[in-house]
């Protein structure tokens, strides 16, 4: 490198930086003064930052700054504030009756919003994010309810669950007629076809309806009721409608009758607070299947 300052540009009479590209030299034009001053000011400003705010990482911790500021504490305060705002609203929800919540547009909107997020966190793994259900997991959008679809009944099911082990849980299960040796396999096939006929579905050729009716009356009526209309006290599904939790084809029915069914819905009491459970009941009810 040449000595910068001896290299003077002939046109402007100013010194150049000594850099040259293809015969073009760079003038050593100083930066505007305001720019330089702002630059130094930002440096001074940043030193202030080092002192005022936590800045330097030490081996075990870090410098805490003059006022002990920490962004984590800020977040904690904001979360607490949020909790407070929500707390008031959730208290209103907890105080209102289920029916009143549905009548008040503001409370309904709150319950639906709250219910939707809580549903997504807790219920979606089984019932699906839109509560459309899956085989063995009821669709909560339709109007077929094992344990009843009124607001109170939905609330009760969420609170205590089904076969959950909770003291107040819904009990009752489909027996394993085949596994337990109560019915022989040809009887099971016959009664399965009889059940299909109850729902207006096609039956196997040469199936003996009278025999089916007899087996049904002896074994199934106790729970599913006369004509197979179901019984919500025991969670026994209606066998005459178009909705089948475990499938309506013959094979699925044979499996159900032989193996029995006893799906478990956990109890949410104790895991979620009462106002949240209320919000969820309203949400599920408002999905459209509620009675």
């Amino acid at each position: 490198m040449t000595d910068h300052h001896s290299d003077i540009d002939s046109v402007s009479g100013k010194s150049t930086t000594g850099h040259e590209w293809d015969g073009i030299k760079e003038l050593n034009t100083p930066l505007p003064r305001w720019w330089v001053i702002s630059f130094y000011l930002t440096i001074i400003w940043s030193i202030g930052y080092w002192i005022v705010y936590p800045a330097w990482p030490l081996i075990q911790s870090n410098t805490t700054g003059m006022f002990g500021y920490s962004s984590r504490a800020d977040v904690a305060v904001e979360l607490a504030n949020l909790e407070k705002i929500r707390g008031d609203k959730m208290a209103a929800l907890g105080a209102a009756s289920l029916a009143d919540i549905e009548k008040d547009p503001a409370l309904l909107a709150l319950a639906r919003a709250k219910g939707k997020t809580v549903f997504g966190d807790n219920c979606a793994p089984c019932h699906g994010s839109g509560a459309a259900g899956a085989k063995g997991y009821p669709n909560l959008n339709d109007d077929d309810w094992l344990w009843g679809g009124t607001l109170d009944q939905i609330m009760q099911t969420i609170q205590f669950g089904a076969r959950s082990g909770h003291a107040k849980t819904h009990e009752g299960q489909m027996l394993a007629f085949g596994k337990d040796g109560v019915l022989k396999s040809d009887e099971i096939v016959t009664v399965a076809n009889y059940v299909r006929s109850l729902a207006g579905l096609s039956t196997r050729n040469g199936f003996d309806a009278a025999k089916g009716e007899k087996i049904f009356a002896e074994n199934c009526v106790a729970c599913h009721g006369d004509g197979g209309k179901g019984n919500q006290e025991m969670g026994a599904p209606n066998l005459t409608d178009k909705i089948w939790l475990y499938g309506s084809d013959e094979a699925a029915l044979i499996e159900t009758i032989s193996q029995g069914r006893a799906g478990v819905m956990p109890a949410w009491e104790g895991r979620l607070d009462p106002a949240t459970i209320k919000a969820m009941a309203v949400y599920v009810h408002s999905l459209g299947g509620g009675k």
């Binding site: 547009p105 909107a109 669709n139 339709d142 077929d144 459209g288």
Partner: protein, 488 residues
């Protein structure tokens, strides 16, 4: 006729120097005349509107804001006298911006940068700041002398400087203050602000605008117009040879001589130019240029040099408008002995005016006929359709109803699509199964969950279009939206 002057003979900038030039402070001289008067009046109108508009009241009935112009951010409403706009209608602002841009183009095709010279906020506030400066520190010569003087600062000078900056800051502060009044009820906010109970954000905005006004109008001045503003570059691309720009009529002005010499030469019957080289036009110029060097990017077309030169011409008994709004075409025509022609109405001004009229007209039309009732529909995605125990199919929709009127409305919802549908709005007990009725409070929206069920015997096989009609059962105002009814 004056002697023809080749523009190449005019004094030009020295292009051989370095590209970087240190800023030279401009000391514009006061001037009086037609254009100065126009500028004062426009300044009074612009500042008057800006500072006092928030205090104008407009009666919108109980519970609605009574401020004529209000940007209500928390409630997402914009009020402009009898107009009330919702967030869904931001396209009116898009339209307004397009009209404003084209209006700028139109001004430009008529008179170059006249927006810059007369109406631009930067010009208006800088002009105001200059007026304050002149009032306190005196006119051009005095200010130059005071700035140059190497005397130690005397008390008198210090008090002048302090006074000037205090007044500047007060104007700047008032400017920031007026800004925030557009976002809140002005009288209430003023009360809150002076008792230090206003919202933090208001103080922050006042601070920002005070600082920017003070810096831009007090220090940056013409540098904003020359270096920071993109408009001079854009307008250079938009202008054409017919635009009336502030022009030194060199055909009449050259050769420049002193008053005395001009008189002598004229007595001998010789040709002399009218310009007496008094530099008045340069002294008054806000951007510190010499307009006699021809059209320049820096010139903001403020016309003050016209006033300055007119005063000189009157004094020496020569015709006015040696500098005037003119274009090069006419200079050449005069040099050729032809009469000048002015063309304001030409293809581009017609096109710009037509665009403004079309968009403006369309906006006025839609505004006049806009519905005060609106409906949006969103289909449930998961599940898209539900089969009920009796075999019927149900679809769920989120329906948003907008009641933009100033009164509560009872709205009936009808659906057209599946045969014999039943409808249910969650949380609403319908009297009729296919026509729920809900009340939407004034000036608000309601989001509803609407279930439409098609009975088993009328199940559509595939997805069919549905149309939701909403109607104010009192007034019959209606709106509708379409979506689909999906079969599982």
């Amino acid at each position: 006729m004056n002697k023809t002057v080749n523009p190449k003979d005019l004094t030009l900038d020295d292009d051989n120097g370095p590209l970087y030039a240190a800023h030279k402070k401009v000391y514009p001289q006061s001037v009086s005349g037609t254009f100065r008067r126009i500028k004062w009046s426009l300044m009074a109108i612009c500042l008057g509107v800006y500072y006092f508009l928030p205090f104008v009241r407009w009666n919108r009935g109980l519970g609605a804001p009574s401020q004529a112009v209000l940007i209500d951010l928390p409630n997402s409403r914009f009020y402009f006298f009898f107009i009330e706009l919702w967030p869904q209608e931001v396209y009116y602002f898009t339209g307004l911006l397009i009209v404003a841009a084209v209006a700028l183009f139109l001004m430009n095709s008529v008179g170059g940068r006249i927006w810059c010279g007369y109406l631009c906020p930067q010009t208006v506030w800088t002009d105001l700041f200059y007026a304050v400066e002149r009032l306190i520190e005196g006119d051009r010569r005095e200010r130059m002398k005071k700035d140059k003087s190497s005397d130690p600062l005397k008390l008198e000078r210090i008090s002048e400087i302090v006074l000037k900056h205090s007044i500047w800051l007060m104007i700047a502060w008032w400017t920031g203050g007026a800004w925030v009044l557009y976002f809140n009820d002005a009288p209430t906010l003023v009360k809150e602000l002076v008792t230090f109970q206003g919202p933090m954000i208001a103080y922050i905005w006042i601070g920002i605008l005070t600082a920017s006004t003070y810096l831009l109008a007090g220090y940056m001045r013409e540098q904003v117009c020359t270096y920071m503003c993109p408009w001079p570059r854009i307008q250079a691309a938009l202008t054409d040879e017919w635009a009336l720009n502030v022009t030194y009529r060199y055909d009449r002005g050259e050769k420049r001589t002193s008053v005395k010499k001009a008189a002598e030469l004229r007595a001998l019957g010789e040709q002399v130019g009218d310009c007496v080289d008094c530099y008045q036009c340069v002294a008054v110029c806000r951007t510190g240029i010499d307009i006699r060097n021809g059209p320049q990017m820096e010139c903001i077309q403020c016309g003050l040099c016209i006033d300055a030169c007119d005063n000189v011409m009157t004094k020496i008994g020569r015709p006015k408008r040696l500098i005037g709004y003119d274009n090069d075409i006419n200079i050449h025509r005069r040099q050729e002995g032809k009469a000048p022609i002015y063309r304001i109405v030409r293809a581009r001004t017609i096109v710009y005016s037509a665009i403004i009229a079309a968009i403006g007209g369309f906006m006025v039309y839609t505004l006049a006929t806009r519905s005060l009732l609106d409906v949006n529909v969103l289909h449930d995605r998961n599940p898209v359709a539900v089969k009920l125990s009796d075999g019927s199919i149900r679809n769920a929709y989120t329906v948003r109803l907008l009641n933009k009127s100033g009164y509560d409305r009872a709205i009936a919802i009808d659906v057209e699509g599946p045969a014999n549908p039943t409808m249910h709005v969650v949380g609403v007990d319908s009297v009729t199964p296919d026509r729920p009725i809900i009340v939407i409070p004034r000036d608000s929206t309601s989001e509803l969950r609407l279930l439409v069920t098609a009975p088993a015997e009328n199940n559509p096989e595939k997805s069919i279009p549905v149309r939701f009609h909403v109607m104010d059962i009192g007034l019959g105002v209606a709106a509708s939206a379409t979506d689909n009814f999906v079969a599982p």
